[in-house]
Assembly symmetry: C2
Homo-oligomer: 433 residues x 2
């Protein structure tokens, strides 16, 4: 059974706080293991990759090579049926169209003092995309990770995907081709992250690594951070659905289960202003669970981490939403805009009764790589900006340096940085020092 909370009731605050701090991730201590793998890959390069691939993916890649060849991709793509290929292309086009609107702002102006100032954006040279293997190998995630890099103008988009027992995923490879991935390697785990960060004989290192993975992959990304850029560390998926009683309970129940089916550690929460509706949704969840293929996973997630919160009015939901800072927020209510305008922290919002969260996983356009575990308080979904960086610039003339230089000289001396002061003062007519 999920938790049931009533806003304002005795014990609500304690129960809500418990919900906020529920530990959903298993805390594996993988630090030493990962550090060892990274050391090994930097020391032995390709041979370390072959060894780990044999060990973890049960595949000796010496014959086929680490790279998945263009011919292999051709052959795999040919296996995808036309309907699915069309749906993937449709999704890619919509994702591309949305991300193309994320155009970071350039600045170039001259201020009152006569100083030219600005910032320019440029793409990273090479991006690495980690794609998990096996069941969690989602073609939609390939699109969501690679397309923003492509839109940003990244030249090399390098994908790694483990191929357990040597089996390739046709859909993942087709998605890679559609999204514009330029190189693909059949490796996974911390060893793939190490190879992307440090390079080997076969694989040139990249500048930024993105994509989801297990605890080993997440820890590897954490350890290579600084040498390369990384995206945020993804945790189990979450959805918070705010719904009034004019919704069909079966629709809302399906939405809650769409996150619950990802992972037993996923979390689905319903906030509603109607107790009867809440009860109806809970019943509808049980009905769906009777037929869903992933009922075991979804049922366990719903029982362990699911919650239903009844509030007196939908306005009372606002502060709860911000405290939960959900990855996905559905506002299945009459006037979603009014609530949306009051909310500060959420990764992505799905507005109205006809916008199930799953539409955003595939075809809406915005990215489905979103901040989990309340990190929407400080971070954002993946975007074109993640594959670009800014360079600021300043240009003084002799005249404008006269205007702004003296204050710099004063401050540099106060910070005991006299060479700093000298480098400005030496250029001033009236030599301060």
């Amino acid at each position: 059974m999920p938790s049931f909370l009533t806003f304002g009731a005795d014990g609500f605050e304690a129960a809500f706080t418990a919900l906020l701090h529920a530990k959903r991730e298993t805390d594996q201590d993988v630090r030493e293991t990962v550090a060892g793998i990274i050391r090994d890959v930097t020391a032995r390069g390709d041979e370390a990759l072959y060894d780990y691939t044999s060990k973890f993916d049960r595949f000796d890649a010496h014959g086929a090579g680490l790279a998945i060849s263009s011919a292999e991709v051709d052959a795999a793509c040919a296996e995808v049926d036309a309907d699915t290929a069309a749906a993937l292309q449709f999704a890619a086009d919509r994702i591309q169209a949305f991300h193309a609107r994320q155009t970071p702002e350039e600045l170039d102006y001259t201020d009152e003092a006569g100083v030219r100032l600005g910032q320019r954006w440029s793409p990273v040279d090479a991006a690495g995309l980690y794609v998990p293997g096996g069941l969690a190998s989602y073609p939609s995630s390939v699109l969501m990770n690679a397309i923003p890099a492509k839109v940003a103008g990244v030249d090399r988009i390098v994908m790694t995907v483990p191929t357990p027992d040597g089996v390739l995923s046709p859909l993942v490879l087709l998605a890679a081709r559609i999204a514009g991935v330029t190189e693909i390697y059949r490796i996974g785990g911390a060893q793939a992250v190490a190879a992307l960060a440090y390079g080997t004989e076969t694989i040139c290192g990249v500048d930024k690594i993105v994509g989801p993975g297990n605890a080993f992959v997440a820890e590897a990304k954490r350890q290579v951070f600084g040498r390369v850029g990384i995206d945020t560390i993804a945790g189990p998926s979450e959805i918070l659905v705010v719904a009034d009683n004019k919704n069909d309970p079966a629709w809302i129940a399906a939405d809650l289960l769409s996150q619950a089916e990802h992972d037993t550690a996923a979390q689905s929460i319903l906030i509603t202003d109607c107790q009867d509706f809440a009860d109806a949704v809970v019943k509808a969840v049980d009905v769906h669970l009777q037929t869903l293929p992933k009922a075991d996973i979804a049922g366990k997630s719903w029982a362990d981490f699911g919650a239903v919160i009844v509030v007196p009015t939908l306005l009372d939901a606002v502060s709860l939403i911000d405290r939960l800072a959900p990855e996905h927020l559905e506002l299945a209510i009459e006037d979603p805009e009014s609530l949306m305008s009051m909310i500060k922290h959420a990764g992505a919002v799905f507005m109205g009764r006809y916008t199930p969260e799953a539409i955003g996983d595939y075809v809406a356009g915005p990215n489905h790589v979103l901040p989990t575990a309340r990190s929407a308080r400080f971070s954002s979904g993946l975007s074109v900006y993640d594959f670009m960086k800014r360079t600021s610039f300043v240009e003084c003339t002799a005249q404008s340096l006269e205007k702004i230089g003296p204050a710099a000289v004063t401050l540099a001396h106060k910070e005991n940085l006299d060479a700093h002061a000298l480098s400005v003062a030496i250029r001033l007519k009236d030599r301060q020092s």
Copy 2:
């Protein structure tokens, strides 16, 4: 002596690669120590902070309390002379004016399918600013870290600064007041980062932590990353000066020394197309070193990590610049724009003969917190964007869901996510499933 390299000469590539990979940071293994401090602060809260402050800063803060009071700030600010106060305010105004132009782009549009799409930006609720103590306690850094948070609209701007032997820095406190810092605590080290990330009885936790620090602070930021956001991990400072022979060698020498004086691990590199000019700059460096207060530090940095590279033409500098991806790049040449337009990787560029890098440290306006150690390949200087996050949104109507929903249903089934498919299909008139 610095290294001397001649582009195209025998051994150039090997020497340049050595320069790229010179290990300037000492690799202290501080992981376990830091993990222990973080565990202790989360377990014992304020008492742990008092203990570490006694131990590392030789100050028992039980009397004064962890917070630096408004009265203490008043008293400290009164000690600052009027000239310095005016210079700080001048710098703050210019930094504020530049950062106010960093206005992230909102999106809100309806596409051809009738789907409303967009993104909104909002500030984090609370930012933590780590300020080092003692000699590295720079008021200019307080301005550079706090003002972007203020411009972003952050409500709580929380500063921590260790006060060795209980001594407050008037300039740092005045800078904090000018910049709009809202709370100040006299703590430092990994314990300050832990307190900012997890909170204690006295200190409410924040959402994002920025600011430079030693190896312990950097490692603590790395370990709390995910619970809160962090900025990039700062390494020793660097400058790359590209100069032709029409510059005064003494000016260019001062610029090189302005980074060298920061740290014996700092790096200053000159690229020029004139051997005679290179020799003149090297001589001018030695002349300046005879009078500079920090000649010991600057001289050692220049000898150990400095380099002079002579290129046949300034165009040959472009690929070297991108490979070095310098934190600071000075283009002291006739037509800096022509080179600037070809460069992909640099944190900040200082254009022309009258723009010494130090002007950017204090009063130019753009941020002086910049990517070091070649991380300009993938990251950017601190900005307003670092204190904000995006929320994407989607709003479908019954009609637009009919148009884009079927492709989502197809893909969800292929990914074996049937609840995802159901949540879309259940809303379609012609119930696919």
